[in-house]
Subunit: 381 residues, 2 copies
């Protein structure tokens, strides 16, 4: 139990907080920013108007770059860095979910590198970055309060990650009410991603307070998504889901633990090969098969998970309850539901292994990954 | 559920971390610090040697000021500020528990005020402070990761608090092993203080994730102190206790909630009048009577506390278990055990009310405070 907690993010949470973004940027003496965004949902839900009004009021200029992909791609990040350099922009303002914030981090750190991909391939380290501001519109990655960034190399299909202390956002604005208008499957994908962030670390965890905090987060995530299924605009469950999602992949409950991360690595193979598959949907589809495969490698922790999170006596029962929950949420529990075919399994495994053998509970070789994917393919309720 | 999380502390946790303090101070370009300390236990347990060796190695000069009281007093803080001004010291290095760190904050903020007490009396606000570094030797106040400071005015007996964003320590070094050598009652006092920080907020809490996180912290605190009773040098329960204590009064589980704080206010009356009574012991002595008095004002939360923290069906049963635990830890459950007499009760209540009526669950008037103190005085197992 040895770690450093150093989270220099001003995390502003609550209703009507987006209006504060301009003032926060101005307080840092920044005059011109790159406004990075996705496919335009922020124009429909009013977030864009609130952001630009706030920028105007604080005298901040901005250049817009749209069309960040749900799995953000290298070519688009390179284009963004070009714009920042050409227009001498001083900071990145990412308005969106994890994909937009992750690409924002790529831009902020890549600005100081020869080529941004070097940070993801391991060739270079990010030690300097432009200031990053975020307005969160989808809870999932916790990118708003951590240093992680995942990017898809659209030339090689490699979906790899990087991280650095300088990639913490300076300010993150988190207004849960902007997520009222999300399509239901995006709320669910975020829930699954947050649950997965926790189980990846929890599965290798042996620190009592960390286990306790993670169990509280999992119970709250489950409890909140069930309430939101009845009314997706109910503030308290939405706020609980949103905050729990941020905490799920923040340093607070983690106590410096590394985690397993093989579920994420396998999913990165899936959405690396099929970029239209959302990260949360990919995770959901392999979740039951991944849990089942991992169980023998740390029975005590998964037995504890059953009792503490689901209130049932055995792992087998907990797994049933969890898969039933995924089904009720219309979230996939088999890669077959994503349209993946049997012949895709080996190529996905090969792509995963390009990033090295994933996993800490068990270092997964090709046969292991193929087994998990096949079991997912054949998974039935 | 609306709040800002902004904890700019580099919190370094683990064995053999004290050696890093010099480097952390040097990294901030600071050359001369005030080394503030208590009654000398850090000379016996090796912490002092580690700190000064690290300062020497990093070329940091220092001036020492000892004898910070367990309830830190205004006159000593004023003296410290004089030294900082006269010797042109650039930062405060507090080596000790909450009292030393709280006085360190008084010095760092008071440096920029006409008189430091103005910040505690409400006459002035702290908006600027010298950099604060801490090496924690007793877990209790969580002062190492929050903005709070409590000071005792030794002219008026007022024990009042202040807080400001600039009072966050820059760096806090938290090595749980230095607490192996603490007298048992100091470990217990810290446990009680941390439990109280939680119940003060928990008693007014209605945010699910906050309740969950606080319950996990309380269970871990109780579980850890019971293990430490068997072996006070067992690393994992010590580390769990130490981290849970920091988290107990950090912003992270709190979600912006204000809390009740009447237990602390009453204790400040007790140790304001009898400065030799440790804060944790004072809290412990009034804890059962305070819980009993508060129960009718939020039955659902205390009923939940019984089930979730103690695994029993009713508040009355949970209270019994909790008081039995205090007794087993040799922690007081009655102010009579502290040597307080019946005739002291009214003057203590008067002193408490000088800071205004305490409490949110119930705004406590003199009769209420007297009732709690009398019930504590007469409390029997």
């Amino acid at each position: 139990m040895e770690f450093t907690l150093n989270i220099p993010v001003k995390y502003i949470f609550g209703k009507n907080t987006i209006e504060r973004i301009g003032g926060e940027i101005a307080a840092e003496n920044i005059k011109k920013v790159l406004l990075l965004a996705g496919w335009g949902s922020i124009k429909k839900n009013g977030v864009y108007d609130k952001v630009v009004n706030s920028l105007k009021q604080s005298g901040i200029e901005w250049t817009e770059l749209w069309d960040v992909q749900p799995n953000p791609v290298l070519s688009h990040a390179r284009k963004a860095i070009e714009i920042v350099r050409n227009e001498k922009l001083e900071a990145v303002l990412a308005v969106g979910g994890g994909s937009v914030i992750d690409e924002g981090k790529a831009v902020a750190g890549g600005f100081y590198l020869n080529d941004v991909w070097d940070a993801y391939s391991g060739k270079a380290r990010i030690t300097k970055a432009l200031p990053i501001f975020t307005v969160l519109t989808i809870s999932a990655s916790a990118s708003e309060i951590n240093t992680n960034s995942v990017l898809l190399n659209d030339e090689t299909q490699q979906k790899w990650a990087t991280g650095a202390q300088v990639l913490f956002p300076k300010v993150s604005i988190v207004d849960p009410t902007v997520q009222y208008s999300l399509p239901w499957n995006q709320t669910v994908n975020g829930f699954v991603d947050s649950m997965s962030h926790i189980t990846e670390v929890y599965s290798t965890d042996d620190i009592e307070i960390s286990l306790e905090l993670f169990e509280g987060l999992m119970r709250t995530l489950i409890n909140s998504i069930q309430k939101l299924k009845l009314n997706s605009q109910d503030y308290m469950p939405r706020a609980n889901l949103v905050y729990s999602s941020s905490m799920a992949l923040s340093a607070f409950p983690r106590c410096g633990l590394n985690g397993d991360w093989s579920q994420h690595a396998i999913e990165h193979g899936i959405s690396g090969m099929f970029p239209k598959i959302a990260h949360g949907a990919g995770l959901s589809a392999i979740y039951p098969a991944w849990l089942e495969f991992m169980y023998p490698y740390n029975k005590p922790i998964f037995d504890r998970w059953a009792v503490k999170v689901f209130g049932v006596a055995t792992f087998a029962e907990a797994l049933k309850v969890f898969v039933k929950l995924l089904a009720e949420l219309d979230s996939p529990y088999s890669i077959k539901q994503l349209g993946i075919k049997g012949e895709d399994i080996e190529p996905i495994a090969d792509l995963v292994l390009q990033g090295g053998k994933p996993g800490r509970l068990k270092s997964l070789d090709k046969a292991d990954i193929v087994t998990i994917l096949k079991n997912s393919y054949n998974y039935n309720l």
